[in-house]
């Protein structure tokens, strides 16, 4: 890769009691690129995301952000670095409108009073900058939105704070065809704006459509970290299910990988 990674994990291990979940994992996120994180159930995707998000600590290994090693002690530190995670359940309040949800917990105020003018304008700007045209009004309640629109609001909420990396956990899992289309377009636009995007997905169609790089996890190890253009669908599926595919994948005896 020509560009330097914005975020890099090097040699990360993570165990829960006896279960060694992540083995010497190297993971990089590049600005302006979509990195797909793929792997079977139990491969360690969620654990890796939670380590990146600061929810889990690391047993060892480096957390390098913008070329500098940083100490991360919790989700707040990570948010301050400009890394936002959009979880699968989105965490939106149905009884609040889009603006209220986007600013929840970080409302701008003038003295004691909420500054609605500022918040509504900024929410609208952010949605417009992401070319979101699917919502009728930024003042409609989130309950009235479709699944794709809700995903859009959750993503817009994540980028509102000038974040530089956004992790998306299965953003299209519950969506229909047209809505998947909207969200994938949005994912692509985020990367085009220079953000580092991590897309966690089971759907190979989505991965091959928007991802620039693919990181495949197999039983807690990185089986491959490759450019999307260098692999095809069946190779990735082999990497996910067997940990190797031809010259790619875990090169040593796969039996040790299962320890």
């Amino acid at each position: 890769m020509s560009t330097e990674p914005l975020l890099q994990l090097r040699g990360v291990n993570k165990s829960f009691g006896n279960a060694h979940v992540l083995h010497d994992v190297d993971f990089s996120v590049y600005p302006g690129q979509v990195t797909a994180l793929v792997g079977d159930n139990g491969a360690g995707k969620s654990t890796l995301v939670k380590v990146v998000a600061g929810i889990y600590g690391r047993d060892n290994g480096d957390y390098i952000y913008d070329g500098k090693q940083v100490e991360v002690h919790g989700p707040r530190d990570v948010a301050e670095l400009g890394v936002e995670v959009v979880y699968q359940d989105l965490a939106l309040c149905d009884n609040l409108d889009i603006v209220e949800n986007m600013f929840l917990g970080r409302e701008t105020r003038k003295g004691l009073v909420l500054d609605e003018t500022e918040m509504e304008s900024r929410a609208r700007e952010t949605l417009a900058s992401l070319s979101v045209r699917t919502v009728k009004s930024v003042r409609q309640s989130v309950a009235s939105l479709s699944g794709g629109q809700r995903q859009t609001v959750a993503i817009a909420k994540a980028v509102l704070w000038n974040s530089r990396i956004v992790l998306l956990d299965e953003p299209t899992a519950a969506l229909g065809v047209a809505q998947t289309r909207q969200v994938l377009d949005l994912v692509r636009r985020l990367a085009d704006r220079g953000l580092g995007v991590v897309l966690i997905s089971h759907n190979m169609g989505d991965v091959f459509e928007v991802a620039d790089r693919i990181t495949a996890l197999y039983l807690g190890r990185v089986a491959a970290d490759v450019a999307t253009s260098d692999v095809n669908n069946s190779q990735v599926v082999e990497l996910i299910t067997a940990g190797r595919s031809g010259s790619l994948g875990i090169s040593d005896n796969p039996a040790t990988a299962t320890v």
């Binding site: 149905d94 909420l114 979101v132 045209r133 169609g205």
Partner: protein, 430 residues
């Protein structure tokens, strides 16, 4: 999965075109009055009825009681009704905060009774001035709310159980303080005056006009600011209609209460009972807190989705405690106003159907029992409905069993409307 053919990545330009072509732009205002009405009807159909049941119910009740009793529409009874509604509205306003979080406070009525007892005894037994007594009573209410809130949020006991225990326990506290079968007289001129004295006619008019002008100016300035900053706004016609409705209500009530309603020509009675300004001031205060402050926003968020609120960095446990503290403090104020109306505090104060009246008021007004939805204004509208029922049935000299049956029925009806409208809301996605 392996059968999916490898597809080349779609260019972002293609994606953009799709998004542009498929969807309309962001809409900043309902352009006309007709659009606004259409939106409103759509919300009603979807089950978001707001205060409509309260207003319709009030109209029906006024017609029924007006036909059934000659006295009902007399000026004296109307003023009496307004005073009766006071304590119910105040207690219901407090309950809105707890209901917003999807919790319940069954002890609010008797907490008000305890607070009123404290206030009455401070004045009668210790000769303290009324404001000290009132502040002490509110502090007692706040303390009760704090304990309930901590038990609910830290220990995770369902609020239903905690407050049921307090409902019983606090009745014991009142009995202990007053003694079996006793009562404490409330004779302090200020506290007693809340419900039996009236604002001078001229002052009442000035306050009513100022309040109306303030509302009109606030609404118009807000609309201008929204238009200037290109925010979403109501059309001017809707703003004007809202201002007119508020003006008619405020000025109409003032006019009615400022007419001499005395049956005795020697002693004229005219003016707004002092309890009404108390309710109005607290209504404005809590509406401001709920709509314009981060605290209010966070309360709604916790009521709508506590997990989302927690992830947004809101201290959910602390918000719960605050809600119970506000509820019990308002209960204290309500208890004092009730003691002012009856002229005494007795061992039964705050018990019986006081709490159910207030819960009924909040729910009839449009506050949801499921949390996340409710306004201070709901409590006032619902409180007027409940007070009308109590007042009307009282005039008809019905046996008291009817009173209980009707009130229980109304509460159940309101809860059913809430549950059904909630189901329709989730079906319609509003």
């Amino acid at each position: 999965m392996s059968t999916t053919p490898t597809t080349p990545r779609t260019s972002p330009e293609g994606g953009d075109k799709m998004a542009t072509g498929d969807f309309a732009g962001d809409n900043r205002s309902a352009a006309t009055l007709r659009d606004s009405v259409g939106d409103y009807v759509g919300r009603l159909r979807g089950g978001d009825m707001g205060s409509l049941p309260a207003i319709l119910g009030l109209v029906v009740l006024l017609v029924v009681f007006g036909l059934a009793s000659d006295e009902f529409f007399s000026l004296l009874n109307m003023a009496n009704l307004a005073v009766q509604a006071g304590p119910i509205c105040l207690l219901a306003m407090g309950l809105v905060f707890v209901l917003l979080l999807g919790e319940i406070d069954l002890s609010a009525g008797v907490a008000g009774g305890v607070a009123a007892t404290v206030a009455a005894q401070f004045i009668v037994d210790r000769g303290l001035p009324w404001y000290v007594a009132v502040l002490a009573a509110i502090a007692v209410g706040a303390l009760i709310g704090l304990i309930i809130g901590e038990l609910v949020s830290r220990l995770g006991i369902p609020s239903f159980v905690v407050t049921l225990a307090f409902f019983l326990g606090l009745q014991g506290v009142i009995l202990y303080m007053i003694g079996e079968g006793g009562s404490v007289r409330v004779a302090d001129p200020v506290i007693r005056g809340l419900t039996i004295e009236n604002v001078p006619v001229a002052a009442g008019w000035v306050a009513a006009v100022l309040l109306t002008l303030a509302f009109a100016a606030g609404s118009l300035l807000r609309q201008r600011r929204q238009v200037a900053n290109n925010l979403q706004h109501d059309p001017m016609s809707v703003v004007l209609i809202k201002i007119s409705v508020v003006a008619v209500v405020i000025l109409g009530l003032t006019a009615m209460l400022n007419i001499n309603r005395s049956l005795n020509p020697v002693f004229p009675i005219a003016g707004i009972p002092y309890v009404i300004p108390v309710v109005v001031v607290l209504l404005i205060l809590w509406t401001f807190v709920l709509n314009r402050t981060a605290f209010g926003r966070h309360l709604y968020a916790v009521g709508g989705n506590a997990e989302a609120a927690r992830r947004a960095g809101i201290n959910v446990l602390r918000m719960r405690v605050y809600a119970f503290v506000i509820c019990s403090s308002m209960a204290a104020i309500s208890g004092i106003v009730q003691s002012s109306y009856t002229g005494k505090v007795s061992t039964a104060s705050g018990g019986g159907n006081v709490l159910l009246y207030a819960v009924g008021a909040a729910v009839i007004g449009g506050t949801s029992l499921f949390g996340g939805k409710g306004r201070a204004l709901d409590a006032v509208l619902g409180g007027i409905v409940i007070a009308t029922i109590a007042n009307g049935l009282g005039l008809l000299n019905q046996a008291s069993f009817i009173n209980y049956l009707v009130t229980g029925g109304v509460l159940l009806l309101a809860a059913s409307v809430d549950a059904i409208s909630r189901r329709r809301r989730s079906a319609a996605g509003i």
